[in-house]
């Protein structure tokens, strides 16, 4: 271990605003988006497009749109086409159409007054500016749901029917509407909804193998070589997968785990750092849950905590935990329960969300139950359980 050596090579690569050069497992959607807007490079001003991008939290909607925006801008620059990609998070502007459009105008007129003018005036100004500059724009409206909530059908109608008010003029403004799902559009009246829903790209949740690829890419960019093992990436991917396949959650978890590793001057990100990190994001074991556990359930859980505290591993075979449990029973003057009973405890604690269990094929014969402690730091759990066993006596 080298003192004061950070595990990070470049932690900005884990920042929420960082747009990676490649987006693993979103190649098809990238191609589709490029195809929808290919006219901008071929025949700008001849047509405009509206595309809806939907998907759960952390499925890469924002990253996909911004990645596409950067690519098309660079391609347009090469071809000397006057084009701007403007990405606005509607929630940041409390869903106000006027403020959102003001952001778009600012791309060309940074000193355009922010207040005192209605959305329609700002929209007209935007179109005038685009005409003056002879430019086209893709306006990506992220968290579009909040604009629908705040402004309703009128606002959507203004945006989608814009070109009809400009008959015979060049078509300069296209849209990407980004939202989790189409539920919010149910509030819109029929005509506004029909103008909105034309081209829809739905991003499906990432599976665990996909999350492993995404996280591995980020690890290579952000961490020093060898600072994050494959097992740790696997653990983070597992956690992100359980959080509805949320890649952003996984990336944030990596960053936090790295911070814990640096704070401990560990030199590498250990599974315990991930447990500490996740306990700072999601609630760990509640005291009430702990109090509801019987003596042997607590002893079993203490065995799990002690095992992971002493072994820098992500998974442990139930039989390994059983050995630690036997030692603990001796320590506390209790008769150890059977393997089947321990298996029951593991299942119950999994249901509570404290442990995670999975069945793995053993190398030699049969199947073995593997236990992991994904969300609670082993040190913290051991302390809590030891306290509770001392305070409450050894009652069942």
């Amino acid at each position: 271990m080298v003192p004061n050596q950070s595990v990070f090579k470049d932690e900005s690569k884990l920042d929420i605003n960082y747009i990676p050069q490649k987006l693993p497992h979103r190649e098809k959607e990238q191609r589709l988006l490029s195809e929808f807007f290919s006219f901008i490079l071929r025949c700008p001003e001849r047509m405009a497009q509206r595309v809806i991008l939907t998907g759960d939290v952390g499925t890469g909607k924002t990253a996909l749109a911004q990645h596409f925006g950067a690519n098309i801008t660079s391609e347009a620059n090469k071809r000397r086409i006057k084009f701007r990609y403007v990405h606005v998070n509607c929630r940041e502007f409390r869903g106000s159409l006027q403020t959102i459009l003001h952001r778009a105008v600012m791309a060309f007129r940074p000193n355009y007054p922010a207040r005192g003018y209605g959305a329609e005036e700002v929209l007209a100004a935007l179109m005038q500016v685009l005409d003056e500059e002879e430019a086209t724009m893709i306006l990506a409206l992220d968290e579009f749901d909040s604009l629908i909530e705040k402004e309703g059908s009128d606002a959507v109608y203004k945006l989608t029917r814009l070109q009809e008010m400009r008959q015979g003029k060049p078509q300069r403004l296209s849209f990407i509407f980004i939202m989790r799902n189409l539920d919010a559009t149910a509030q819109l009246d029929e005509s506004a909804r029909s103008t909105l829903q034309r081209s829809i790209i739905s991003l499906t949740r990432y599976g665990k193998p996909q999350l492993i690829d995404i996280l591995s890419d980020r690890v290579a960019l952000a961490f020093e070589l060898g600072a994050v093992s494959e097992d740790v990436v696997d653990l983070v991917a597992e956690l992100a997968y359980s959080e509805t396949g949320n890649a952003r959650f996984g990336i944030e978890l990596l960053w936090r785990a790295g911070k814990y590793a640096d704070a401990e001057n560990a030199g590498v990100v250990e599974p315990e750092c991930v447990r500490l990190a996740i306990s700072s994001i999601v609630p760990s074991l509640r005291r009430s849950e702990l109090a509801s556990l019987g003596l042997h359930e607590r002893l079993f859980l203490l065995a799990v905590a002690r095992y992971f505290k002493e072994n820098e591993e992500v998974y442990a075979a139930l039989t390994e935990i059983e050995k630690t449990y036997a030692v603990l029973c001796e320590e506390y003057g209790e008769t150890a329960n059977s393997h089947t009973q321990l298996w029951n405890y593991a299942q119950y604690l999994t249901k509570l969300g404290v442990l995670r269990t999975e069945v793995a094929s053993a190398e030699t014969r049969g199947r073995t139950t593997r236990v992991s402690l994904p969300t609670i730091p082993a040190v913290e759990l051991e302390r809590q359980l030891s306290d509770s066993l001392t305070q409450n006596g050894r009652r069942d």
Binding site: R109, P110, N111, Y112, P113, Y117, E121, A124, A125, Q128, V129, E132
Partner: protein, 86 residues
């Protein structure tokens, strides 16, 4: 308007420097930044526009001013640059 009249006004010089620095501004923004009332600011902007130094763009109710592309405007830019830059 004679040259000395255009450049003898402190507010007009302030406006020119401001627009040179910030690009395009509307009347209220100029007035606020040079700490002058709206009407007087608007008058100065009109004079500079009529002299061909500034040009006005109207976006609905928003009137924005920027340096024009005329030789006079270019001379003003050269003057400011010569004066302000070390």
């Amino acid at each position: 308007m004679e040259l000395e009249e255009v450049f003898s006004s402190k507010p007009r010089m302030k406006i020119l420097k401001l627009i040179y620095q910030l690009g395009q501004l509307n009347v209220s923004d100029v007035a606020r930044r040079i700490k002058m009332n709206y009407t007087a600011t608007s008058e100065h902007l009109k004079i500079l526009t009529s002299e061909g130094i500034l040009e006005e763009r109207v976006y609905g109710r928003v009137h924005m001013y920027r340096l024009s592309e005329t030789p006079k405007a270019k001379a003003v830019v050269a003057l400011i640059e010569a004066w302000e830059k070390p």
